[in-house]
Symmetry: none
Subunit: 277 residues, 2 copies
């Protein structure tokens, strides 16, 4: 911290010239933006010559302009949005819950940029049209498939949850036909099971939907519907929050489209449960 940009500026404050001030105005007004610009670009915005930017950097103790800029950059990383929320929430270092919440919130807010309601509606309509829905998942994403399976059943859909591998999976895929739908989940890696199932679905003429993270870009052929959004930065602990939100939005959208159809199924379920009690 002793060498943060702000500190360096304070040290040399009284030795700063007119040009220096104008440059710092630009740099500090929006560090996020100016950390991306070249010396010449910042200088132009400040209305001074590029040389002034270089001399400012040297005056502040950096080796040159690129050196000062990377100092700026690392400070931006340290105060980027998720961490900023974390600090606001907690104030205390090492509060894992607060950091986790901050990062989840940040990623959830980012979701809106990657998926739009129209795509969800398309997928929902396709599901409503399907005779039955097969859910195919491996590893951790089985959890999600299970969730979607429960919610769909409760809404009156005919579903089957397929989580096996190899022969097991192949056998369960057999019933899939022209009017059915296959929903696949893929996170981080693209399991052979998923690509295989998708190929099969295409062959028999079933509709396909893939729910995924950034791995969706690696899909060999485009499925009929893709709902994909990143789950956070690479270094972070990756959770299922974002894909779960996608599934929930899907359910809500189905409920709205079919206007009460699935709600009345819910009532039927309540009655059924009471009978068993």
């Amino acid at each position: 911290m002793a060498h943060s940009l702000a500190n360096q500026i304070d040290r040399y404050r009284d030795k700063l010239t007119e040009a220096d001030q104008r440059l710092l105005d630009v740099l500090l007004r929006d560090p996020g933006q100016s950390a991306m610009l070249s010396a010449a670009e910042v200088a132009r915005e400040a209305g001074v010559h590029a040389a002034a930017a270089v001399r400012l950097a040297q005056k502040l103790g950096y080796e040159g302009y690129p050196d000062m800029r990377s100092a700026l950059r690392s400070e931006i990383v340290a105060s980027d949005s998720s961490r900023r929320i974390a600090e606001t929430l907690a104030g205390s270092e090492g509060d894992l819950l607060a950091s986790l919440i901050a990062s989840e919130v940040d990623t959830l807010l980012g979701l809106i940029q990657h998926i739009d309601q129209a795509a969800i509606e398309d997928a929902a309509k396709a599901m409503l049209k399907a005779r039955s829905i097969a859910l195919c998942a491996q590893g951790n994403s089985v959890v999600l498939a299970d969730l979607l399976d429960r919610r769909l059943r409760r809404a009156g859909f005919r579903t089957s949850l397929i989580t096996g591998q190899g022969r097991e999976l192949a056998e369960r895929l057999i019933p899939l036909g022209r009017n059915d739908m296959l929903v696949c989940f893929a996170f981080r890696r693209l399991p052979r099971e998923v690509t295989g199932a998708l190929d099969h679905a295409r062959q028999v003429g079933a509709t396909t939907l893939v729910i995924a993270d950034h791995i969706a870009r690696r899909l060999p052929r485009t499925p009929d519907h893709v709902l994909a959004a990143p789950r956070g930065r690479a270094e972070e602990f990756l959770t299922l929050t974002v894909p779960m939100a996608i599934c929930n939005a899907l359910i809500l959208t189905i409920a709205r489209i079919d206007g009460g159809q699935s709600v009345s199924t819910l009532d039927a379920l309540e009655t059924l449960i009471k009978r068993f009690d």
Copy 2:
């Protein structure tokens, strides 16, 4: 928007090579950071040659790498976190995804006021002490129990997932003893299975942890550890986002407390998976 980077990628999706995808993984995983880097730096992170980065930019219709990078930069401005919150909350009329996200974010931020890191740490320590951990869940919360089960196993814990009812459940509870731990999930309703299991655990001297929503107030006797937080307003569609965040925080805290113990178990898992491949 017609020429956003994401759009360009979709247009050329099937023409993307291995190197292209590795580069895009780096670029899209953390655009804020990579928008500051040179072609060579991004290429190094992606493990490809700088030339590949230049060619990708040209393939996507940009004049060259700097051109693509500035496209990336202008998109970053538009997705700054404070702006996103505003947009998400504002334009959510009829947009179910946006409203859902807004409500999830709101509830997640509220979580911090209901649970503090200290309570999570207490629970984590108890789990580390336990000989084995039984996870007891009914209905939808089975999904969560499954998630926690997977993560705990991966961290080297001995767990058992108990989701049955009546006799089935009773039989599975038999092994529970003095040094074991029982984790119960309860949302919205307080199933007889949960109260029964908790009573049994108390009787045999096992430690108990309950993960719940507002229903925690209705617990007949206080378990050793309670991690509870509301999942949103009553009228809303209630999701598992908040309890999932609690589970994830629990896992992260365990990982920190046992300092690498569970990480090395993860390594062992990777080796095991490869052997089966």
